[in-house]
């Protein structure tokens, strides 16, 4: 078990190095394009170009360029965006990351709790109107675009009914750091959380219900009933754990891609300066250092999340433990 975990961590490290090489090659070794010009930004002066060329080692071989880039990203952390008046890129991401993490973690907590509750309820009462109603609700959640829902939420809570007793507690758009004001943090984020979670509640509850219904026909579920367990216990103790595999895999991927910038629309609608928004700005300005840094950042999260999911498999399914 410990060996499996160690091996998985080794793989993770290997994959991360591989991704960094790949990202570097895509951005700096694309034939026919001078990386200097792209880093320095459009209409850069010849002096800036010369400075960039020396700083990034573009006059030296590729491995040196790669090493220098990694040094700038992880060691000295002084990768600079020339497009954006010489702003340092890494601190920018480190500043945006807590915002995104807060947004996504809260939403994730909500969608996990709600979708498990909905999925289990629907599976327990399958075929009935509660089941159909919940699954319909899930479908509605999947179908609503998050930017539209966010705008409607803003419209209702920020302007139209802001002065009513119901929504007077809603603060203006923006982020409040958790360390400064926990209550303010919560109030600022609870609506973005719910908005972001709606889509995933829909997907996850439907997936979980389908898996739970499938597991109902397993022989060991009948054994559990023959033991004299209550239907609720059969479903929760024997069914749910078995059905969590797909759920956990999906969760790992979704959580990682959201933390890595996928919550862009929610961040934009609610005025949160998160990683998604940062990526969006970098893309629209063709800010190469920033793009590179955000891509690396989100890759790190996706890979780590996958490693965590694999560890969870070890807990959920004992057969995986001996498999490797």
């Amino acid at each position: 078990m410990a060996l499996t975990v160690l091996r998985r961590l080794g793989q993770t490290l290997f994959v991360l190095v591989g991704i960094s090489v790949l990202v570097f090659l895509v951005f700096f070794a694309t034939p026919g394009a001078d990386p200097t010009a792209r880093i320095a930004g459009r209409n850069a002066s010849p002096e800036t170009m010369a400075r960039v060329r020396v700083e990034y080692g573009f006059d030296r071989p590729l491995p040196v360029q790669y090493a220098r880039m990694m040094e700038k990203l992880f060691v000295t952390r002084d990768l600079t965006s020339y497009v954006n008046r010489g702003q340092k890129v890494v601190p920018e991401i480190l500043e945006a990351a807590p915002v995104t993490l807060s947004l996504v973690s809260g939403a994730a907590a909500i969608w996990v709790v709600l979708s498990v509750a909905m999925g289990v309820t629907a599976a327990a009462l399958r075929g009935g109107w509660v089941d159909r109603g919940l699954m319909m609700l899930g479908l509605v959640g999947i179908s609503i675009p998050v930017f539209w829902l966010g705008q409607v939420v803003n419209l209702v809570t920020q302007s139209r009914y802001h002065d009513s007793w119901l929504f007077s507690w809603v603060p203006g758009l923006g982020y409040v750091p958790l360390t400064e004001d926990p209550l303010g943090w919560f109030r600022a984020l609870v609506l973005p959380w719910l908005t972001l979670a709606v889509l995933f509640v829909g997907i996850y509850s439907r997936v979980l219900r389908a898996d739970l219904v499938a597991v109902q026909s397993e022989d060991f579920m009948r054994t559990a009933r023959a033991k004299g367990l209550s239907p609720a216990r059969v479903l929760l103790v024997h069914g749910l754990r078995t059905s969590m595999i797909t759920f956990v895999s999906l969760f790992g991927l979704d959580f990682a891609q959201l933390v890595g910038g996928g919550a862009l629309l929610t961040e934009v609608v609610f005025g949160l300066q998160g990683v998604g928004r940062l990526t969006y700005q970098a893309l629209s300005n063709l800010d190469l250092p920033l793009i590179m840094a955000t891509v690396m950042y989100s890759a790190v999260f996706v890979v780590i999340a996958n490693a965590v999911v694999d560890m969870l498999y070890l807990i959920l399914d004992p057969r995986v433990r001996d498999g490797r």
Binding site: R222, T223, K227, G228, H238, D317
Partner: protein, 331 residues
């Protein structure tokens, strides 16, 4: 094997006119069980035999109400369990347990053997009321492992780490955890190697002697049934065609179908009189069973009456029951 315990004439479990129908689409109805009645007294081993699809597994599950029969009654120890609400049925499950055919599928692959076997002990109250203590459960688990011949270390392991025979021992231990009075074994050895089959059947027999269990033993293998049963019920197309003492049914069959089953066993069998040749053709579909005697399409001694007049299960002079107009043993 004779010597039924006559001191307790009241049956432990009895089925009356049990029916199980499934709708199979386009208004068609499959009769998996078509009016089955039987009773099993304490200490008996009732062997339930028949070809695949004859309804023996369905009967086993209906008897324990793992599926809800469409009609009929099952009386367990004086209580009608067919209409009992789930909540009141659960305490009764302590006394009636089942061992399933697929020893691997019957065990949750994600839980340890110890957890799986202990689960019944955790959910059912101790005999004096109240929950069983951890120590009691651990002691009982150790006892059960000894009983079925598995090492104590097995408790900490997972189902996939065992062989088929070992897994069936685990299933038996699980079924016996609460000291049930009735165990329904649904083809418990059909999926095992022949050498392992004998071990498991012997285990069943030892356990019966040690614990005074009552079995309903479902099998399609007559050799297994002959070894373990005191009485035998032969099923064909959802109904019992012959029911009686194992010795009589398996050595002097009254129903042509029983005779054909025995003739199909590739082992030497003591036979009396001439037996009809083995069967030809397939079992008719239970969606559209033949009129008259359900066996007439394949019966080697069929006569005109059999094609129109369905024979009822009736008692023959030697005490067994058979559903045949022209039984092979004298009346």
């Amino acid at each position: 094997m004779t010597g039924l315990p006559d001191h307790s004439p009241s049956p432990l479990i009895a089925a009356q006119d049990l029916r199980m129908t499934y709708r199979v689409g386009r208004g068609q109805v499959l009769r998996a069980l078509d009016g089955v009645s039987l009773s099993v007294r304490p200490g008996e081993v009732l062997g339930l035999v028949g070809e695949s699809g004859c309804g023996k597994s369905t009967l086993g599950r209906c008897l324990l109400r793992l599926v809800q029969p469409s009609a009929g009654r099952v009386v367990f120890d004086g209580t009608d369990i067919t209409t009992l609400p789930e909540r009141r049925l659960r305490p009764l499950r302590q006394d009636m347990q089942m061992v399933f055919q697929d020893s691997y599928a019957a065990l949750n692959p994600r839980r340890r053997i110890g957890d799986l076997v202990a689960e019944p002990l955790r959910v059912h109250p101790a005999p004096g009321g109240g929950r069983r203590s951890r120590a009691d459960i651990a002691a009982r688990l150790a006892e059960l492992m000894d009983l079925v011949g598995l090492p104590q270390q097995a408790l900490a392991r997972y189902p996939h780490e065992f062989s088929g025979g070992q897994r069936q021992r685990i299933n038996i231990a699980r079924a016996l955890a609460l000291s049930p009075r009735l165990v329904v074994a649904d083809e418990p050895v059909a999926a095992l190697d022949v050498s392992i089959q004998a071990q498991i059947v012997n285990l069943f027999m030892d356990l019966r002697d040690q614990l005074g269990l009552t079995y309903i033993f479902v099998a399609h293998d007559l050799a297994v049934v002959r070894q373990i049963s005191t009485r035998v019920a032969v099923m064909y197309l959802g109904a019992i065609v012959e029911l009686g003492e194992a010795d009589a049914v398996l050595h002097r069959p009254a129903h042509p179908y029983t005779a054909a089953l025995i003739a199909a066993v590739p082992e030497p069998v003591v036979r009396t009189g001439d037996l009809p040749p083995p069967l030809r053709g397939d079992v008719p579909s239970p969606i559209a069973p033949p009129p008259g005697c359900r066996f007439h399409t394949r019966c080697p001694v069929v006569r005109d009456r059999c094609r129109v007049d369905p024979p009822a299960l009736r008692t023959l002079p030697d005490g067994r029951e058979a559903a045949c107009h022209y039984p092979l043993v004298g009346e």
